[in-house]
């Protein structure tokens, strides 16, 4: 009885399903697909809109002189260095986010419903505040005469110099992007069957064994989602590095911004395009590597 009913409802829904899909398809086309095509178009054309590989080439070949610590200067590939630095900081931030978020998500998922809600609110609250305000707040905290150092001095501890270092940039990124790591992990762990954990303990696993052999592999889809949602914005971040890095760590996001501000749209588009391709390839590789694991079959 009930079976038949749901099946019939499902069929009726099919036409209206496509009807409701319509506006979203249009939206996706005009605001996602078309801009992407424009980015690619700008990336491969010069100021007169003739086809050229000049901008792509410039990204890979442009060089500049940097002064090393011993005073001698050295020639480096400008944009490759910037890109590598962006990637490095983004990966560090993502790993830190994962390490912080994973236990937190697990504790949240196993807590009482009321505690879960409280945790959730606490994690969301920073997201209600403006991104600029948050970054400025971190500046005040981390400055050499900032809150952190005042606090340390008060307890007669040696002060620390953080502002203007890579550590400061990582702290800023972790703070901003942590919720995007916690939420997907939490949602997948909340769905996990407690009986599976009991079964693993029953079959000889101690606490670490349960984590390694059951919880971690089952949470991988959440890990991938979280990593994607943190890695991508942190690779292309630009404001945090300017403020917390004292402008010393020019990142790919900053490079794109400065080219854009200098009205050099084609080169900005070329950099954005390369960044996009690299990220797509990274994500694709990660999906393939973990999909096999999640499927279970070898």
């Amino acid at each position: 009885m009930t079976n038949k009913k749901t099946r019939r409802e499902g069929r009726v829904a099919k036409t209206s399903y496509y009807a409701t899909l319509g506006p979203y398809s249009l939206w996706a086309m005009f605001f996602i697909l078309v801009p992407l095509v424009f980015v690619a178009y700008y990336a491969f054309t010069d100021n007169n809109f003739n086809f050229t590989l000049e901008h792509i080439q410039r990204f890979f070949t442009a060089t500049s002189q940097v002064i090393q610590s011993d005073g001698s200067s050295k020639e480096v590939y400008t944009y490759l260095v910037i890109f590598w630095r962006s990637l490095k900081l983004a990966v560090i931030s993502t790993v830190v986010c994962l390490v912080l978020a994973y236990p937190l998500a697990y504790i949240m998922a196993r807590a009482e419903p009321k505690v879960q809600k409280t945790f959730m609110t606490i994690i969301m609250i920073p997201m209600w505040m403006n991104f600029l305000i948050r970054t400025y707040a971190w500046m005040t905290i981390l400055q050499d005469t900032g809150i952190l150092n005042n606090f340390l001095t008060f307890f007669h501890l040696p002060g620390v110099h953080i502002i203007g270092t890579e550590a400061a940039v990582v702290i800023g990124m972790v703070y901003d992007y942590l919720p995007y790591m916690v939420l997907p992990l939490y949602s997948i762990m909340a769905k996990m069957d407690v009986k599976l954990i009991e079964a693993a303990r029953d079959l000889g696993c101690n606490g670490f064994g349960v984590l390694r052999r059951v919880i971690w592999p089952l949470s991988l889809p959440g890990v991938i989602n979280g990593v994607t949602m943190v890695l991508i914005p942190s690779v292309s971040t630009f404001y945090i590095s300017q403020k917390l890095g004292d402008g010393k760590f020019f990142l790919i996001g900053d490079a794109i911004e400065s080219q854009y501000v200098a009205n050099n749209l084609h080169f900005a588009a070329a950099m954005a395009f390369i960044l996009m391709v690299v990220l797509l390839v990274c994500m694709g590789v990660m999906q393939v590597l973990t999909a096999r694991h999640v499927e279970g079959g070898k």
Binding site: A199, A200, D202, L203, G296
Partner: protein, 374 residues
């Protein structure tokens, strides 16, 4: 026979007030198929979880081969569990699920392969090694769960209503198969169920529980033929439970008549509960009957008819292969061995006659029970 598990004065409560288990004492022997039987909420699953190590008793001791194991974590106990909904690892295929406990023990690869394949052939799943467990039928998942729990050769296998999710036919097959596996492996099985038929057909020993207490421990035949109180008599099979008075040894009076019976050692004129199983009642012509009554309903059940007979206002259930008609007046005869006498207990007046009996209602309440167990 060797005692493998001893439960001594086990008490457990989840809210600190109502006991889920109330002073449980039970010995479990080597190579035994023991069933914990009772309605939902009787504490049978909690008792199983105590033995598995997932709960600790508030007081009392769990003795495993002479050692107290109250605080030993599950992974150090030589006991494995087949969970109610199987709890197979969805990220592993059939082979890896079964190999799971062996890999934890870091056995050599060849040995793992050998043992897993041996187990899979025991549960008739050879050739399914590479299959994902999410693509198996309920019965096949059940077999994987059993193989996984048995592969490390535990001393005791705990089964928590493992057949509950299977349809009737498959359930019957698995009952036979489980029994066979138990005989083959010689491992003690502790089986939890609320299905009395399942319990009777599979077990060496049946433990009947309700409200956190053990009522009776015995073989299937003992439990069925010699129930200790009205609860057990009512829960196991169908029973006509009547108020009676024990006049003297071998002589009991109920329904206004005096009957010969096989029970003795009661006080003179002691009030008792009298149990008569529906299949032990003989239908005879009215003039030969010790009791007479009017048939009020007849249900054909294939093997036999189930009829309800009104004898002076008390409705008896009788199972017979002879056809009788509704409103027919019939005689009833009871052989001495059809009558079982029980001492009065707190359950004596809870189970009346069959005046409100309905098969349909019975099935409905059973489905609800299964949901409650979740």
């Amino acid at each position: 026979m060797k005692k493998i598990i001893e439960l001594k004065n086990i008490t457990k409560s989840f809210d600190g007030e109502t006991p889920v288990l109330d002073n449980i004492n039970l010995d479990i022997y080597d190579n035994e198929f023991l069933t914990l039987l009772g309605p939902s909420g009787c504490g049978k699953t909690t008792l199983l979880r105590l033995i598995g190590g997932f709960e600790t008793p508030d007081s009392g001791d769990i003795i495993f081969l002479g050692d107290r194991i109250n605080d030993v974590p599950p992974y150090k106990r030589n006991v494995n569990t087949v969970f109610q909904k199987y709890a197979l690892f969805p990220h592993l295929n059939v082979f890896d699920n079964v190999a799971f406990p062996l890999r934890e023990k870091k056995l050599p690869k060849e040995e793992i392969e050998e043992k897993v394949l041996e187990m899979l052939s025991l549960v008739a799943l050879k050739g399914f090694e590479k299959r994902s467990v999410t693509r198996l039928s309920g019965g096949q998942q059940q077999r994987v769960a059993i193989a996984r729990a048995l592969v490390a050769h535990p001393k005791v296998l705990l089964l928590d209503e493992p057949l509950g999710a299977l349809d009737l036919k498959l359930r019957k097959d698995m009952q036979v198969e489980l029994k066979k596996i138990q005989k083959q492996t010689g491992i003690t099985f502790i089986f939890v169920t609320h299905d009395q038929e399942e319990a009777l057909s599979m077990s060496d020993t049946v433990v009947v529980m309700s409200e956190g207490k053990i009522h009776q421990v015995g073989t299937s035949v003992d439990i069925y033929n010699e129930p200790v109180n009205a609860f057990v008599a009512d829960f196991i099979g169908e029973s006509n439970i009547l108020d009676g008075v024990m006049l003297e040894d071998y002589k009991v009076r109920f329904s206004g008549q005096t009957f010969q019976c096989l029970d003795k050692e009661f006080m003179k004129n002691e009030p008792v509960d009298v149990v008569v199983r529906p299949e032990d009642v003989d239908i005879v012509p009215v003039e030969q009957g010790q009791l007479t009554g009017v048939v009020t309903s007849v249900t054909f059940l294939g093997v036999h008819y189930e009829i309800i007979v009104d004898v002076n206002g008390f409705k008896w259930m009788i199972q017979t292969t002879d056809f009788v008609d509704v409103d027919e007046r019939i005689g009833i005869e009871l052989e001495p061995d059809a009558i079982h006498i029980m001492k009065k207990s707190e359950y004596s007046n809870l189970y009346g006659d069959y005046s409100s009996f309905s098969n349909e209602l019975d099935e409905l309440s059973e489905v609800e029970e299964e949901d409650e167990d979740e």
